[in-house]
């Protein structure tokens, strides 16, 4: 079952433990700037903190734009081959999410490789803002939320003892369950 790294920005506190642990995992150094995930914080309008990390696109723009075919997609992971890469940074610019990173000390751009299926950032996130979930679950939360929103807006009319009444969908079944 392919799994995806999924971000829930609303939960992120901006603590950057994900950055710290990623840099330690991949480069063995204490340097959040050598991390393949980066928390961007904006304030106050809009107020948000959001970890930016590779989504392992099925049609990766970075691969499409790579002039030396250094970027591959295998088993759901987009990788940069350091041998073939000429470090032109085209992938960095092409990524629609800004999820490919560069650093002076490192010869080629770097990105998330899902830590071989055990993403450290997910493990250390204290807010559960990073999730590693089966692909089929992606969007499920949004689907349920969309249905709930609809149910909250929607009313049904009915007649009881000759009197017209309205009931919100969202209220149906609530009394029994309480």
């Amino acid at each position: 079952m392919p799994k995806r790294l999924s971000v829930v920005p609303e939960r992120c506190s901006g603590c950057r433990l994900c950055e710290c642990t990623c840099a330690l995992q991949h480069f063995g150094v204490s340097n959040p700037k050598k991390s393949a995930i980066r928390v961007v914080a904006l304030y106050p309008h809009p107020v948000i903190r959001m970890p930016v990390v590779c989504r392992q696109c099925a049609q990766p723009k970075c691969r499409e734009n790579c002039p030396t075919d250094a970027i591959t997609l295998e088993d759901g992971v987009v990788r940069i081959d350091a041998e073939t890469c000429v470090s032109c940074r085209q992938c960095v610019i092409s990524c629609p999410f800004g999820a490919i990173f560069v650093h002076d000390d490192i010869a080629v751009p770097f990105k998330c490789d899902l830590c071989g299926g055990h993403p450290q950032c997910v493990q250390q996130c204290p807010k559960a803002a990073l999730q590693y979930v089966p692909e089929h679950e992606l969007g499920e939360a949004n689907r349920v939320a969309a249905v709930l929103r609809y149910a909250h807006m929607k009313e049904v009319e009915y007649v009881e003892k000759g009197e017209r009444k309205k009931l919100r969908y969202a209220e149906i079944g609530r009394e029994q369950s309480e």
Binding site: C15, C20, L24, Y43, K127
Partner: protein
């Protein structure tokens, strides 16, 4: 026995923890240089507040006015700042304090310190005065003083926005002052990462006096760590331990706002300028109220799983649209119960205003409370306060007075000078102005817990709770305590808490979620490659207390200054289970004698002359 582990350790070489570089900027000449330091200096002063105090001590003889160009401002993270470590986000700001005229420091969280370390510096020192209003831009080795007259009068948060736009980067870290810092308000703050303030002592005014509106920093250097694998192992484990703590989730939800309910229930919530200890509307301003109606998100400082920052939004009413990070407990009390304010949205407005204006919520709140009581009791006439209708709970007048202070308008000009200036103009306010050494007291009462009185009296910066907080312990165990116990606990706090400030970490994981303090020695050992025990480190932070005392003694501080506010002795608490309590003066004098004895200071609170020699060493 006295041959310390530290001196043995000195013989081993540091393998990490430091860049051994201080960035030293003379704003008058516009020159910046790198001042190196050696192992001995690093190990003895550790970092953060330790570095700042030593640097201030070295330059003390040249400083007459805290707001003169000669004052030396040090911004120093610690050797643990910026690492993969819970609470590694602290930076210390040290200078001679405008508020008190003595040793001063204040710390801020956020990401600024981590970034400064990544820029390759262990500290940033500012001296002199820029010719015109400018911001300092530190991009690793490139340092520039950028003239920015267009920032004049801007709020601190607006300034951060403007500097980020000027540098075309959202990822630089910015510390900034508001209009109050520019106007040299003596409790002006330095604000970083939108809402993390170095709040106390008036460090924002020092920056303002140097014509520096903001400091922007960017860096990508590796932080030197001797044993990376061990650091990682320690933190993987620590994060798990913290997450398993039964209060972890509650802490993330409320942060320090949980203290409002705790203290009100315990009969210790300062109310109406420390007259009462129970606020009848506490449930309108506590953490549960915040969570239920105002909180829209969490924020955390660098590397911290606890995310105690609460982002709050006012959704309706006259303060609709107010968005602010916080308040935390101190602000909720000093802008809330202590002013009789029961409208949480007004507290949020006050908090946001203080952040933007760049003034300390504690000092500002206590001064406003004093004004309200003074008018209320006839010590001052309405004409003294520009005819304002100051009364308990009147949030419109309170916010108006906050603005007046920051802009030095009318009566605000007097208040902007802090407690010392207020008492000079209106000596009759001495019994009601709750301050020590010119610093307005934090939002914890001391009358039910005399050890907290001693903590305020002997805190090296003035009546602040960060050096020692003994309220909880004394309420719980105080009945069995002797005076020796009281002095010991105050001194233990005054030793371990400054250690956090030297290491550049937050003390809250330790205080709130039972983080074992010995772990910090393990961390320091892993990072430096030199084995340390907690006692080794405490020995150095204990010595630092002598150093900061010596700085203040040189400005005339002695026993006469080491007392909590007169109100703590004279005015019995109203309301709650400790009603009627005051600090017993005779007992306090005994505590003070005992305290000086244990510190090895004279009866008058002066460290012996030979102590000064211990700090005369060179940086390299």
């Amino acid at each position: 026995m006295r041959r310390s582990a530290a001196s043995k350790a000195n013989k081993q070489q540091l393998q990490g923890g430091y860049h051994f570089r201080i960035l030293w900027v003379d704003l008058s000449t516009g020159e910046s240089r790198i001042v190196p330091f050696g192992d001995r200096f690093a190990l003895k002063y550790i970092g953060g507040r330790g570095f700042g105090a030593k640097i201030l001590f070295d330059h003390l003889s040249k400083i007459t006015d805290p707001l003169g160009p000669e004052n030396v401002l040090t911004i120093a993270p610690g050797p643990l700042t910026g690492l993969y470590l819970p609470g590694a986000g602290k930076t210390h700001v040290v200078a001679l304090a405008p508020l008190t005229g003595i040793y001063g420091d204040s710390n801020m969280g956020g990401n600024f310190g981590a970034e400064l370390r990544q820029a390759g510096y262990d500290a940033l020192v500012l001296t002199g005065r820029a010719e015109q209003l400018s911001y300092l831009w530190v991009d690793e080795d490139d340092v520039a003083i950028v003239p920015a007259p267009e920032l004049a009068g801007k709020g601190a948060l607006d300034t951060e926005r403007a500097v980020k736009e000027a540098l075309q980067s959202e990822e630089v870290r910015v510390a900034a002052i508001g209009p109050a810092g520019e106007k040299l308000v003596r409790f002006a703050t330095i604000n970083c990462d939108w809402s993390r303030n170095a709040g106390r002592c008036g460090m924002g005014a020092v920056l303002g006096s140097k014509n520096i509106k903001a400091i922007a920093v960017r860096g990508g250097k590796d932080l030197p760590v001797a044993d990376v694998a061990r650091l990682r192992m320690l933190t993987d484990r620590s994060l798990k331990d913290l997450a398993d703590h039964p209060l972890f989730e509650f802490w993330q939800q409320q942060g320090l706002m949980s203290v409002v309910d705790y203290l009100n229930t315990a009969g210790g919530l300062p109310t109406r300028n420390f007259q009462q200890n129970v606020f009848e509307h506490a449930d309108q301003i506590d953490g549960f109220k915040m969570e239920g109606e105002f909180k829209i998100g969490d924020t955390a400082c660098f590397g911290c799983p606890m995310s105690c920052g609460n982002i709050c939004l006012v959704k309706n009413g006259k303060y609709k649209g107010t968005i602010t990070e916080g308040p935390e407990y101190e602000s909720a009390c000093t802008l809330g119960s202590n002013l009789g304010v029961s409208d949480f949205s007004a507290i949020l407005k006050g908090n946001q205003l203080c952040d933007e204006l760049g003034i300390d919520t504690i000092s500002a709140g206590v001064l406003v409370g004093t004004m309200i009581e003074a008018v209320d009791t006839g010590l001052l006439q309405p004409s003294d306060v520009d005819g304002m209708k100051l009364e308990w709970g009147n949030s419109d007048q309170i916010t108006a007075l906050l603005e007046k202070m920051a802009n030095r308008d009318g009566v605000g000009d007097v208040l902007a000078g802090g407690s010392k200036a207020v008492l000079e103009k209106w000596p009759q306010l001495a019994p009601i102005l709750v301050q020590t050494k010119g610093m307005e007291q934090s939002a914890y009462d001391a009358r039910a817990t005399i050890s907290m009185g001693l903590a305020y009296g002997t805190s090296d910066i003035g009546a602040h709770h960060a050096r020692a907080w003994t309220v909880g312990k004394e309420l719980e165990l105080g009945a069995k305590w002797t005076d020796h116990d009281r002095v010991n606990i105050v001194m233990y706090h005054q030793t371990i808490r400054p250690l956090f400030d030297m290491l550049g970490v937050c003390r809250l994981p330790w205080i709130e979620l039972g983080f074992d303090e010995r772990l910090y020695a393990e961390y320091y050992s892993a990072v430096t490659g030199i084995p340390h025990t907690l006692d080794d480190l405490l020995e150095r932070s204990r010595a630092l207390y002598d150093l900061t005392r010596l700085i203040s003694v040189s400005r005339g501080v002695s026993r006469k200054d080491d007392y909590p506010a007169p109100r703590m002795f004279e005015r019995p608490i109203e309301g709650g289970q400790y009603a009627g309590r005051v600090i017993d003066r005779a007992q306090y004098e005994e505590l003070l004698d005992l305290y000086y004895q244990k510190r090895g200071w004279s009866e008058d609170g002066i460290p012996p002359a030979e102590k000064a020699k211990l700090f005369k060493d060179r940086l390299t």
